[in-house]
């Protein structure tokens, strides 16, 4: 019984992280996503459209940890919310253009993530989730108590939207959308860059088999902390845009239920895919908005049910399932081709 003390490899399912198959498909998806992002405020009330894209980046940032590193953070509201507050405070007190305030908020989130990450990566699984939750609760408490700065329960009100004196952007949320969109798209590009970098490969190896990664000489804890800080930074970008978009920061942004919501969106769309976060956030925000505007007050009941249903029926999430089917079909097709083509089989 004492023989196998080194943890054996966790048997994860083989689904490629690196979409090796089709670079052309990737460009088509990317172009489609870009068009959708540009067209969104024509079809959706612009502030809601902005929420969708901000939440999408939030979910993507979480996916770097959840889907690519195998760490479930249940405390990301701390980074989302604190960046929202710091962004709001910078914008209010210094009158700088909003992108500057947002960058300030994101940097604050990263600084906050450093001790949080350092402490939490010492544990894995449910314990990691609990440490991040506990940390986020502490941040919530500070936000609640320090009402002189944060406005406490009333929230931070009247956050201005300065943008180099361009009045259209400062007053019209339709134009604001296009001014803020590049920040979020840049954040998404950064996430893509991270997961497809040498660093991202190490994260995947840690997720797949931590012990093996250590045996190859990787200082796993350090990699996890860096991933945590990067994820918090991107979360901060999203939270900052959210704050400017609403001109108001509510205490809810720091609440644990916000941490839960983003996990829900990411899982709904499918973890370890990046696109899954986009899809999950879009659906969740649209659904909540639709239900709210139709005067229905059991939003959580409906979104909760949808979540349960999706997880039961499509274990990989919506995007994950579609992608899996597509790859499986590709594989069948290519293996059929090799066989009939008389290719050298080994």
């Amino acid at each position: 019984m004492s023989q196998s003390t080194a943890t054996p490899a966790p048997v994860t399912e083989a689904h490629p992280v690196v979409a090796a198959a089709n670079p052309r498909l990737r460009w088509v998806l990317l172009a489609g996503g870009l068009v959708a992002a540009l067209a969104l405020p024509w079809f959706v009330y612009p502030p809601v459209a902005m929420d969708i894209v901000a939440m999408a980046l939030f979910a993507i940032a979480l996916d770097i940890l959840l889907g690519y590193t195998g760490l479930l953070s249940f405390g990301h509201a701390a980074f989302w919310g604190s960046s929202a507050y710091v962004t709001g405070l910078i914008a209010t007190n210094y009158g700088v253009p909003f992108p500057v305030a947002i960058i300030g908020g994101a940097l604050f989130a990263m600084i906050l993530a450093l001790p949080a990450g350092y402490l939490s990566v010492r544990r894995s699984g449910i314990y990691f989730a609990m440490v991040t939750l506990a940390f986020a609760q502490m941040v919530y408490f500070v936000g609640y108590q320090w009402s002189g700065l944060t406005g406490g329960e009333n929230g931070l009100q009247g956050v201005p939207r300065h943008f180099f004196g361009v009045e259209l952007v400062e007053t019209d949320s339709f134009y604001f959308y296009y001014a803020a969109l590049p920040i979020l798209l840049l954040g998404m590009w950064a996430a893509w860059r991270i997961v497809h970098s040498p660093f991202g490969r190490v994260l995947v190896s840690i997720r797949d088999n931590t012990q093996r990664a250590r045996a190859l000489g990787y200082e796993v804890d350090k990699y996890k902390v860096v991933a945590f800080v990067l994820s918090a930074g991107l979360t901060g970008l999203a939270g900052g845009v959210f704050a400017i978009n609403h001109g108001f920061v509510a205490l809810t942004e720091l609440h644990w239920s916000t941490s839960g919501e983003v996990v829900l969106m990411t899982v709904l769309g499918g973890i370890g895919t990046l696109w899954g976060g986009v899809l999950g956030a879009t659906l969740a925000v649209l659904l909540a908005d639709y239900l709210a505007s139709s005067g229905f007050d059991g939003i959580d009941l409906v979104t909760g049910s949808v979540f349960v249903l999706v997880v039961l029926l499509f274990r990989r999430g919506l995007w994950g399932t579609v992608r899996h089917q597509w790859l499986a079909w590709q594989q069948r097709r290519s293996s059929r081709r090799t066989r009939s083509g008389g290719g050298t089989r080994r």
Partner: protein, 254 residues
């Protein structure tokens, strides 16, 4: 063999107790540089625990471990790996979603600090393409380089394990049952492979197959109930009365 007398790996009174059970019991092991050293013993003799101790996956209860005279007792696995001790695993231990090529690229990067480059493309990982190809060719996986390891056959996964160990260019290689679960043909191929990669390196391996031990090892340590029962050249050990009763007797005619 180029045994020049230096000690590559030494344990002193190394002991590991699990809830009162002495899995490894004051083991003094000396592995000479350039040697191929086999650890054998019946199930539960403490071989894998010893491996886990040597590579930092398990912290010893007492005793010391030295690698080329540097004390590595209580060091973490990655720190031990960074001191030139690489191991393979008894249970195939790979990254299911990656391809063989991606594995080797990761292994080559492991001892550098290049893994933190989150702003660069992962294509950089393949920068040392000839080295990657060379390693894959050595273990016979070149044609399957771009296949996800989840889809590889068992023997191929074992071969990849060896490529990963080799990629670290280790001073000491620890191979935990390199032929576990293989058919005769694969066993012979693996023996050839290990012999080839063992040239000029120090190897410690565990194996139940006496044919493997006999063909590879120049020194054999027999463990029983966590203690060293006998040690010596293969022929000495296999004729040792105590060893025959403990272990070899049953395994030899397998």
């Amino acid at each position: 063999m180029t045994t020049n007398g230096r000690v590559a790996l030494r344990t002193q009174a190394l002991t590991k107790v699990f809830r009162g059970f002495r899995a490894v019991d004051s083991v003094d092991l000396v592995v000479r540089e350039g040697g191929v050293h086999a650890l054998v013993g019946p199930n539960g003799a403490g071989k894998t625990t010893l491996f886990n101790l040597l590579t930092g996956f398990v912290a010893p209860t007492s005793g010391a471990i030295r690698v080329f005279d540097e004390d590595v007792t209580g060091k973490q696995p990655e720190q031990v790996a960074r001191r030139g001790v690489a191991r393979s695993f008894q249970i195939t231990s790979l990254f299911e979603t990656l391809t063989s090529r991606e594995h080797v690229e990761l292994a080559l990067q492991g001892l550098t600090r290049q893994g933190f480059r989150f702003w660069r493309s992962e294509k950089l990982l393949g920068g040392n393409r000839t080295r990657v190809d060379d390693l894959l060719t050595q273990v016979g996986l070149m044609t399957l380089a771009d296949k996800q390891v989840g889809l590889l056959a068992y023997g191929q996964k074992r071969a990849l394990e060896l490529a990963l160990v080799l990629a670290l260019d280790p001073r000491v290689m620890l191979l935990d049952e390199p032929t576990a679960g293989m058919g005769t043909e694969d066993v012979d191929r693996t023996i050839e492979l290990v012999r080839r990669i063992a040239a000029g390196r120090t190897v410690v391996f565990v194996d139940h197959n006496m044919h493997v031990v006999g063909s590879l090892a120049d020194r054999v340590t027999v463990l029983q109930q966590g203690k060293i029962l006998a040690e010596g050249a293969y022929d000495e050990v296999r004729n040792d009365e105590r060893v025959i009763t403990a272990y070899l007797g049953e395994a030899d005619h397998a």
